[in-house]
Each structure stands twice: as C-alpha cells, then as structure tokens.
C-alpha cells in the first residue's frame, strides 16, 4: 500500500515517524512496544533475543535470501518466517486483542535454523584452517551456535571459479553463500553497481562485469560485509589470524573527514586498518585508501637522520643533523627563516613548530601548501563544514562548488548518494563535471556561475547547503571566491538563523587544526608560495610538507616519515612518526577535535615529531617549555581551549569579511587529481599505485568512449 499525501495519512505517517504510535508485540514471552515499521528482527534485538542472520545488514536493503533469521510467529503465516523481511505491523493481534507472539527459541525455530545451516554448509568448503576469515567468520560462529554437528549430504560440493574483482579484494568463490550483501553495497552505497550475481540456482555466481576491477573508491568494504571468507582483503591474505592482532581505535588522516578506524597490529607491524562504526562521520565504511595504505607505512620510510653532502644524502646522527641545522639557523636572520606544515601533521606538532618559530622570531608560517586563501581571520565558520556531516541527511538541496567529493571524501560521497536516493535531496554542481554516482544539475564550470547566484532568491528547499571544495580557494582569486560564496550563501538562505549550511570540504587532515591554531603567516609573514619561490627564504622547515616544490637556494629541513618529494629536496632530514605511530590531535573538516592513538612505534631512529622539534629547540638555544606530550597538550589547551573538547562540535562564527573582488574565469578544479596518491604514505604504497594505474586506465577508456 502506498501512503497518499492527504492530511490524514500525513498525520499517521508523522505519528509513526515520531514514534508516538507504537505496536505491541510479545517476543519470547516478553511483551514490549516497538514502532510498527520495525522488522521482527529489529524488534527481537530490542527485546534482547539474538537472531542469527547472514544477508541482513542494517545499512543495506533487505534481501531475505539467506533464511537464517527464521522465527516462529503467531498472528502471521503458520510457518517459520524470515524475521528480517516481515514488519511488526504485518502481524495480526490474537482473537482477544493479544499482542502477536514471536518465538525465537521454540523447537520449530531450532529445527528451521538447523535445516538452513545444513543447506548453507552443503556447498561450503571445510577449509576454515586455511581461510583468512577463520576466527572472525559469521558462518563459523553461527554454525557453532545454531548448526548441527554433521551433514547428511553425500554428493560432491559445487565448485566455483574464483573471480578477479580488483587489486583489493581476493575472492574464494567456493565459500560464497550468496547473501548478496556485496551486490547490494556496490549498487546502493557505493553507487557504481560493480558487482552482480550471474547465472541462477546452483550456478549462481557473484562477480563483476566480465571480471573487471571494481571502480568504486569504497570497494574494499565488500570484504568487511562478506559474512564468510569468499571476499577477503587481498593485500593482507595469509598474513595473520584474527586473534593475533592488537586492536587500537584511532582516526584516519587520508582525507579531512577523520573517519574512525581500528588499527590492527601484530608486534610492531601495522597489519590492517578496519572501519569503526561512527554514525557522525563514516557510519560503517572507510575508503580504499584509508584501508589499504597500510603497506605504505613500511616502504620508503625515513628511519634515521640524513644530511646532504656534495649533492647526495648520507645517513647521519641526530647530533650531526641538529648541529648543521643550528649552524644554518644561527647564520640566518629570523626573517629569512620559515616553516610549512604538511597535510598529515597533528595539531600538537604544528603547535610546537609554531612555538619554535615564534621563539626564533619568524613570522613566516603556513599550513596551506596548496595556496588556499582560507584564513582564520574570516572566522572559524568560514573554513568548517558547519552543518556537520550528519547534517547532510537534513539538507533539501546541496550545491557542490569546486569539489569532487568522490575523490576528496569518498565516504561522504556515499552519504550524499544516500541523501539523493533516499531523501530526494537535489544536487547542483559548479565545477568539474564528474561521475559522482548520483544525478545533479550542472550550473557551470567557473566562478561566474557562483557569482550569478549572489542575487538569487532563497532556495525553495529546506536546509539548503553549499559544499565548497578546497579547490575553489587554492587559486589566486580564492578570497574573492570565498566572498562570492558567502554572499550567495546568505542570499539563498544557506546561512540563516539556526542553520549554517556553508560547508568547506577540506582534503587535508591537518588543515582545520592548522587554521584553528593560526598556523598562517604572521604580520609581514610570507605565505607558502612566497616562501617556496627562489630567493624567498634562507632556511625552511617542512613538517611533512610534500605537496610543494621549494625552489633551489633555501636550506630545507624536512621532518617527516617518507622518502617523498620533501625528502628529495631536503638538505637535512629528521625522521618522524607516521599517524599510526603517534598519539595526536586532528581536527576534521567539521571542526571536530579527535584524538588518534599510537598503535605501533616509528622505525629505527625516528621519533615523534613533537619530540624532534623539542630536541631541536634545545640545540637552537630556544628551548620549548614542554618535556612531555602532556605538558605540550596543557600548553595547547591553554592557548586554544576548544582543542580540549574532544569529539564535540562547537558552533562556529564568521569573522572579518573577505575582500570581494573580480574572480578570474578559470574553471574550478578539484584539489585531488588522483584519489589514490594524495600523500607521502599513499605514494609509497604499492597497492595504491596499482589502484591508481587501474583508475587511470579506466578514465582513459571512458575518455575514448566519450570521444567516439
């Protein structure tokens, strides 16, 4: 039955949605009230009765094809019922108005579960000892809990060819129980529709179209969803067992979302990265880069200090390296020294570097390697994702300006897609015309389209939203673009009483933290581009800054983790710790302060970056006033109190108005050109390189097709 839109049905629907109208149900002798749209499975969960399931997943559509969640109902059909696919409102009350009864532990249910499990195991190989899923396998667990000890099946098991579905997911299709979670994920969440089930009956096989690699940036999530060992993380095959890992909850730094992750280590080695459920940010997904950047943590690492001698880098001791830096710093005037912070830096180390530069007397600081014109003086609201990521679910219309969320924040793009598909949110794009996995209305490529909206009437939809990528601000006219965007946002009701839909989508994990602590040029200070150009400065400290080319001439001190662009240019390299190897604070694009935890230790002589800066300050004769991370944090919290409010969102305000001016008419371009290779860790990863090559080949093919 489809609900009409008359006032009566609207009322009914509102009652249902607000939960004022509850249905009574009796589950295993416990009577409770639940919203009538709940499935029996959800109701059973509320009642505390465990129901096994394979195909059902909270964030995917209901398939009802594994039959593992069978329960007995009174007030419904007189047979075992798939609880995931029947709603509480579909059950009849008893003859005297008693609540419908659901039994999850009756003899009928026990027999039904044993039967389903026996059928599932008919074609499932008994290779748990060599299966990577062993120990964290739903089928294993549920066979132990709900199955019987032996099978009555004496025929041969079916054999299925393994499929190639990309460099990240290994298949072992004999193990597949055809729950179709992976198919539903790629169709609904990722939106690329990569996977499907071909054939039918016993010959049904899960595959991609002619075994092409999956095109989604979220593709590796299908291996998490797989309840058996049919889809596994390919780079981590045959490496470790589930019970060998030490699990550390932490924060992702591959994009500016700050997704919640779990870092699994064995000994000192990071083995894998998994998503943690965080409904405010990443829900249950992480991008392929977040997950499979792991091998990049072990390659190209800087594990000892280096000094450039006669044009070549040679290993050196800390004292030697510090000594050389001290000589150069002492020989330079303070106004010829500068510092740049990279995209993966924590707030603590930026704060320490800022303090050191302050003591040296240099105003030349910048955390915006890409030349972004965002600045703390315009107010915190001018550079945050003010509505919060969860606010996307309320938005009636979203304008994407100068960003490609699929590349800049793949997990957020899945949220955009859901808003489009489920809530009917309208999307408009100013910038590059890319395949975002949802339909949008294209308004133009450059600032002219944005300026055209300055006099626009308020948007017709409730809660309109602007999402502006960092690509819109890292151009010479960035400030004018910001002014124009703010003007349009105010005209269209994006910034209104009680709603701030003015959202900046950063792509660098460190950026908001850097802007928050004011890691920007001081009075008379040079910005990143001016520091980098020839003759700009004599000594430049790069805190993991790899996305900028420093012209020859300056003496470059690189504090970082990987032998990447910055290290190649460096005159002295001080080895630091990667994000899995240090405890640090990151502020995500929403302004949410999050604390990452240390999961392993930096390699060799490398040290945590703040400690390197502290030791360097001593040699430079400008001792920083903190000896421990706790003391550093105390100083940080004293200077910037909001950094102490971990995992909270503080409403931000706008500050000084940016200078309006003429924008040049160059098209907006996304700040991220290659999703897989955005930072030094990813560039060191062989897995990411393979993904990048595949993505480029795919783009080339699309280009050819479009040209035809």
């Amino acid at each position: 039955m489809t609900l009409g839109v008359g006032p009566a049905t609207f009322q009914a629907r509102r009652r249902i949605l607000t939960g004022c109208f509850m249905a009574k149900i009796n589950i295993d002798g416990k009577e409770l009230e639940v919203p009538p749209e709940y499935t029996l499975l959800q109701a059973c969960e509320v009642a505390g009765s465990e129901v096994p399931r394979f195909c059902f997943h909270e964030r995917l559509s209901i398939a009802g094809n594994c039959r593992m969640c069978l329960v007995e109902v009174k007030g419904g059909p007189p047979k075992p019922t798939a609880s995931c696919a029947m709603a509480v409102r579909d059950l009849r009350p008893g003859p005297n108005g008693e609540a419908p009864v659901v039994l999850t532990n009756s003899p009928m249910v026990k027999k039904a579960r044993e039967g389903v499990m026996e059928f599932l195991l008919i074609n499932h190989p008994l290779d748990c000892p060599i299966c990577d899923q062993g120990g964290e396998c739903d089928l294993q667990d549920q066979a132990m809990a709900f199955g019987v000890d032996s099978s009555r099946f004496h025929e041969n098991k079916r054999a299925v060819e393994d499929k190639y579905i990309g460099p990240l997911v290994k298949t072992s299709m004999n193990r597949c129980i055809q729950c179709t979670r992976c198919v539903r994920f790629t169709a609904e969440v990722a939106g690329t529709g990569d996977m499907g089930a071909i054939g039918r009956g016993e010959d049904m096989e899960i595959t991609t179209y002619l075994e092409a690699a999956m095109a989604s940036e979220l593709s590796a999530n299908v291996a998490d969803l797989c309840p058996v060992g049919a889809l596994l993380q390919k780079p981590q095959s045959f490496q470790a067992r589930a019970w060998e890992y030490v699990k550390t909850p932490s924060v992702d730094v591959m994009d500016a979302l700050g997704s919640s992750i779990r870092i699994d280590t064995r000994g000192r080695e990071v083995m894998r990265i998994l998503p943690l459920v965080n409904d405010a940010i990443n829900e249950e997904w992480i991008s392929d880069k977040t997950r499979h950047v792991v091998d990049g943590l072990k390659k190209q690492r800087l594990d000892r200090p280096y000094i450039r001698e006669n044009g070549r880098l040679r290993p050196a001791s800390w004292q030697e390296a510090f000594g050389q830096i001290a000589d150069r710093v002492k020989a330079s005037k303070p106004e010829r020294i500068g510092a740049l912070a990279g995209d993966l830096a924590t707030v603590e180390e930026m704060f320490a570097l800022q303090a050191l530069m302050g003591k040296l007397g240099s105003p030349h600081l910048d955390c915006r390697q890409d030349g972004s014109k965002l600045h703390p003086k315009f107010g915190r609201a001018s550079y945050l994702f003010n509505s919060t990521l969860a606010g996307v679910d309320q938005a009636g219309a979203i304008m994407l300006v100068g960003c490609n969320p699929r590349r800049e924040a793949a997990v957020l793009n899945a949220r955009f897609r859901r808003a489009w598909a489920k809530a009917g949110t309208k999307f408009h794009v100013i910038g590059e015309r890319a395949d975002l996995t949802y339909h949008y209305n294209y308004l133009g490529a450059g600032p002219a389209a944005l300026q055209g909206l300055e006099g626009h009437a308020p948007a017709a939809e409730a809660h309109p939203m602007f999402v502006i990528g960092s690509g819109a601000f890292n151009r010479p006219d960035g400030e004018a673009v910001l002014a124009s965007a703010l003007k349009s946002a105010r005209a269209m009701g994006v910034i209104a009483e009680g709603w701030n839909g003015f959202n900046v989508l950063h792509h660098a994990a460190s950026r908001v933290g850097g802007l928050d602590i004011g890691f920007v040029p001081g009075a008379g200070g040079l910005d990143a581009a001016a520091m980098a150009k020839a003759g700009g400065l004599d000594v430049i400290f790069l805190l993991g800054a790899d996305e900028i080319d420093i012209a020859p001439g300056a003496f470059v001190v690189y504090i970082g983790t990987h032998g990447d662009r910055g290290a190649h240019r460096a005159d002295v390299i001080l080895p630091g710790a990667a994000y899995t190897e240090k405890s640090g604070t990151y502020v995500n694009t929403e302004g949410r302060v999050q604390m990452a935890d240390r999961a392993s230790f930096p390699p060799g002589d490398a040290r945590e970056d703040w400690a390197v800066l502290r030791a360097l300050s001593e040699v430079l004769g400008q001792r920083l006033p903190f000896d421990t991370l706790a003391a550093l944090r105390a100083a940080l919290y004293a200077a910037h109190p909001h950094m102490a409010a971990v995992d909270t969102i503080v409403t931000a305000d706008f500050g000084e108005a940016p200078q309006a001016g003429a924008c040049d008419q160059a098209d907006f371009a996304s700040a991220v050109l290659d999703f897989y290779l955005t930072n030094p860790i990813a560039r060191a990863s062989g897995v990411m390189a393979e993904c990048s090559a595949l993505a480029q080949a795919r783009a080339g093919q699309m280009h050819l097709k479009a040209a035809e």
Binding site: D194, M195, G196, I198, G199, G201, D203, Y209, L210
Partner: protein, 223 residues
Amino acid sequence: MAVRRLAEIQPESFAFTPENLKWCEAQIAKYPAGRQASAVLSLLWRAQAQNDYWLCKPAIETVATMLDMAPIRVLEIATFYSMFNLEPVGKYYVQLCGTTPCALRGAGAIRKVCESKIGPERKVSADGLFAWAEVECLGACCNAPMVQINDDYYEDLTPESFTQLLDDLAAGRPVRKGSQTGRISSEPSGGDTTLSDPSLHDGSALGVWKQRFETVTPDQQPG
C-alpha cells in the same frame, strides 16, 4: 544447465537496425521516466532476434547504455534466463523437448538424430547451420515428440520425418510447420473418435431435430 558464460569469440560491435531501434524506443516509452530499465527483457529479446538468436557482449552493453543500467545488471538477466543464448546457435537453433510426455513418445530417438546429424549438444554444426539443446517442456505435449526450431514448433516427429526436416532446412526447401503427420493443431492422432457420423458434416442433419416437432400428429394438437 551448466554455468553460462559469454562466448569466447565476440563480434566487434552491435547496433539495432533502425526498425528495431524504433521498436525499442516504443518499448522504453511504455514505462514511466526513470523506470526505463523495465524494458530490459524486451530489448534483449529483440537484440537476440536480430543477432541470429544469440546475445553477444556488444549487444548486452548496447542495451545497458540505452537503459542507463550498469552492464552487470544486464548480464545478470542475460545469464539468468536460459532462453537467452550466449553463444552462436547456427542459422537454425533446435530446442528439443525432453520432458516426460515427449520422452515417453520417443524424444530419445529424436535426440539420437540430433547427435548424429548435428553433433554434440550446444555446439554449432560444422556447416554452421544447426545447433541443438535439450530443453524443458515446451507445452506441446499432445503432439509429442516435438522440437522448436527458431520461432516455430515441429511436432509429431519420428526419426525419419525429423531427419527429412533437417535435410529440407539445410537444403533451403520449404518445410511444414506444426504437426508433421498432417493433423491440425492437437486433434486426436488416430483420427476422430467422436462426432464421426458423416451426416453431421454433409449438411443432411441440419434441421432434423426441429423437424421432429413439426411432424407431430393432429390429434395431439391442443385443442
């Protein structure tokens, strides 16, 4: 039915003929905007008909593009339904009914003819004209045994008549569709067993029933 895969040798491209394209557009127009994927079966069927009764990879991709579907969605459908042939089936595709009524009436002998005259099942014959496959009931049990060749049924087969039929098709001679023994539709095979009085058919029985009332005697008339 075994695992079904696309043929190894595929044509370079596929395009609907202008008439078929028009027909396809009419099919797509039947469905509301945004629901054009509902036309996928019709389009695949037409593509197969145009392409010698098999679906090639370019045809699947053409249909996917026309309906704005991911190609895997179309492949799922093409591999699900056994009436979509994924490999070439020759000029004449013989579908032999092997279900119980036909089996009882001699489908086994017809199968032997297929094996000897055409070759192994699901392989195109050397001359490229024929391929055959055993299928489930085609619903012509009264006229068993039977085969379907392309769009037509050929019924009441014997090994001899079926051999003749294949020879005639191969030689391009006209063939009789339907029953090969001459009966019409599914009427009894050994001749009629009811309504067999010739007077029923020569017109002499017309009005006989009514005459019985007209020849009643006068004294029986109501008076």
